[in-house]
């Protein structure tokens, strides 16, 4: 009993409240009036998911037909009836060399997903074997003061995901360390606010592509002596600059609009400036700061794909771009897999931030 309460609390807290309702459904602890609620929260989303997949399937099929007809028609006018017939039977046979290139169906995407996983397992095994093989040699090289030999094989899809996550976290941390302190200063000082306001207003709407180019211009020159690949540096800095604005604005606003009652308390207790900032101003603006950070993280994840693509920095963005360029038979399906992975990870990141946000926030009326 106690455990189920805590579970309910936790799931509600992270915004997955329907899980606990679902659990109640199976443990038979359900009141009559709850039933409607359960239906709404579990059956309806499932039904709409199925509907979505069905529509997608039908849509993909009709696009496939349009593309196939067009191809056959073209073969007929260009090369004559025999070529058209040959193409028709080739398409019907499912041969991969002549398939129409269009929106893949759900089952094709599912197959690609499995093949990407298989590919990942192969690469993982390969990598493990490589590490084992070079272990002794590397030890010797290290002892001699040489660099170890590292695995340079092709990264798998899962590796790309982790690289993207790494870039996004680096960018997010950069945004955090720039925007929060700066936001605090701007919020505290009206002078700084007017000094920075134009800057924020002008740079906030700048598109990720332009940020990338700007960062590229600067970092390229700064790292001119370094032989290392700067694509990661450039992409995480661009991500940070694109996404930090929400945090900057929210922090400044939270700090500038602390409840007057709290300020009065600080005055009556005669808190020093540091105490006032750390004990009153910051705690009271934490909820707004975290709202900003939540937006920052989702923006960071959203622009990441475009920036990786531009920067040729390994990750999901580059994966999508390479698949698009390579135009293999299952490329489109792989792109759709990447799309879902991007969406789901974005959703999870958002949930994590929401959880932290719920945790630090308090009701404004609580102390009053």
């Amino acid at each position: 009993m106690k455990q189920s309460i805590t579970l309910g609390k936790v799931t509600n807290f992270v915004g997955l409240g329907f899980l606990s309702t679902l659990k109640d459904l199976f443990t038979g602890k359900l009141e009559r009036e709850d039933l409607k609620n359960v239906l709404r929260k579990t059956v309806v989303p499932l039904a709409s998911m199925l509907l979505f997949i069905g529509l997608w399937h039908l849509g993909a099929k009709s696009l496939y037909n349009i593309e196939a007809e067009f191809k056959i028609e073209k073969a007929l006018t260009d090369q004559g009836p025999e070529a058209a017939d040959a193409l028709r039977s080739c398409i019907a046979s499912g041969d991969s060399s002549c398939q129409p290139n269009t929106l893949p169906s759900p089952s094709q995407v599912w197959d690609s997903y499995k093949s990407l996983l298989r590919d990942h397992n192969i690469i993982k095994a390969d990598k493990a074997a490589f590490i084992e093989k070079t272990a002794v040699l590397n030890e010797k090289r290290l002892a001699e003061g040489k660099d170890a030999i590292t695995y340079t094989g092709r990264p798998s899809f899962v590796d790309q995901i982790f690289r993207s996550l790494k870039t996004v976290f680096a960018g997010f941390l950069l945004a955090l360390f720039i925007a929060v302190p700066l936001g605090i200063f701007i919020g505290l000082s009206p002078t700084l606010k007017s000094a920075f306001n134009w800057f924020i207003q002008i740079f906030k709407p700048v598109s990720p592509v332009v940020w990338y180019l700007l960062v590229f211009m600067i970092v390229k020159t700064l790292l001119i002596d370094s032989s290392e690949d700067s694509s990661f540096t450039i992409s995480f800095i661009s991500v940070g600059f694109c996404s930090m604005w929400a945090t900057l604005v929210n922090t400044a606003m939270g700090v500038a609009t602390v409840d007057k009652d709290y300020i009065n308390v600080a005055k009556v207790l005669k808190l020093g400036p540091f105490q006032k900032i750390f004990k009153v101003v910051l705690p009271s603006s934490l909820p707004l700061i975290f709202t900003g950070l939540k937006i920052t993280l989702s923006v960071a994840w959203m622009v990441l794909i475009a920036i990786e693509l531009l920067a040729q920095s390994p990750g999901l963005g580059l994966f999508v771009w390479e698949e698009f360029q390579n135009g293999a038979n299952d490329s489109n399906a792989k792109i759709i897999v990447a799309m879902f992975v991007i969406g789901i990870i974005g959703f999870l990141l958002d949930r994590i931030m929401l959880t932290i946000q719920n945790w630090v926030s308090f009701d404004k009326t609580e102390g009053i």
Partner: protein, 281 residues
């Protein structure tokens, strides 16, 4: 020279010429060790008066003198119990009080500070809730934390803005005694804002009504000549108590009625609107 002196105070919020004067021509002097209560209707400017004295706001005209010096800001010598509790919601009961105590006694050791916190939290009977956050407390409990926080700083002058409003009669009585106790111990000075005449009579040496705003000003004072320590039940039979109580209530009812008739007159105003104002339509 009085301990606290307010000379010809006027207070207007905002800067415009047409801003209404909340307080007009307030004159008040409180001697050291005195307990003064101010009663007034809601919105009459009581909190404004309190904030002028504790130094959170400055008067538009006139001066506030504390021990002969003009009040320039807040001071630990004047402790405040806010009307709206103003607890910090991210701190527990103990932490809210601790923060105040630490500021008031920067030289004391941590253990001493914690002992003071424990004492005062115990005094408002919140020891079981010492680790709770304000959101887990009832309104009355929050008010008691606010009382503990102000008193724990051991201010020379205690300024209380309707400090016991949200409490039931029993708790209220207990806290009244605690406040009187603390006030009497080192002969501190106290200013109590209240809307309860009986509370004022029980606790104060003098009661001064604040006439309703705008342009609120202090009415004639009523001295309470009842020996301390006072006893609630005995007091009811005291002829002095009855006389004072009736006088104050009569006075308040009179100004209440005045306010009503003024409001009625205000409604008859429409045909007085300026010509060009009408012409605009």
């Amino acid at each position: 020279m009085a301990y606290l002196e307010l000379n010809n105070i006027y207070k207007t919020y905002g800067k415009g010429e047409n801003e209404p004067e909340v307080l007009s021509n307030i004159n008040l002097s409180i001697e050291e060790g005195e307990f003064v209560a101010i009663v007034g209707f809601t919105g009459s400017g009581k909190t404004t008066l309190v904030n002028l004295i504790n130094g959170l706001i400055t008067p538009t005209k006139g001066e506030v003198l504390f021990k002969g010096e003009p009040v320039m800001g807040t001071s630990h010598e004047r402790g405040v119990i806010f009307q709206n509790y103003s607890l910090l919601p991210w701190l527990t009961v103990g932490q809210n009080v601790y923060m105040a105590v630490k500021e008031a006694f920067p030289k004391k050791s941590k253990a001493e500070l914690h002992a003071i916190v424990a004492d005062y939290v115990e005094m408002v009977s919140l020891t079981p809730a010492i680790n709770k956050r304000p959101k887990e407390l009832s309104g009355g409990m929050r008010q008691r934390v606010s009382v503990a926080r102000a008193l724990a700083m051991k201010p020379e002058m205690i300024i209380m803005d309707e400090p016991l409003g949200a409490l039931d009669a029993l708790t209220r009585g207990n806290l009244q005694d605690e406040i009187l106790n603390i006030w009497g111990k080192d002969k501190r000075t106290a200013l109590l804002i209240t809307n309860d005449v009986d509370e004022g009579i029980y606790m104060a040496d003098r009661i001064i009504p604040l006439r309703p705003g705008p342009n609120a000003t202090l009415g004639p004072e009523f001295k309470i000549d009842i020996e301390r320590p006072r006893d609630k039940t005995e007091m009811n039979d005291n002829p002095n108590f009855k006389k004072t109580r009736n006088a104050i209530i009569e006075y308040l009812m009179d100004i209440g009625n005045e306010r009503k008739t003024e409001a009625k007159e205000a409604i008859v105003l429409p045909d007085l609107s300026p010509k060009d104002f009408v012409n605009q339509f």
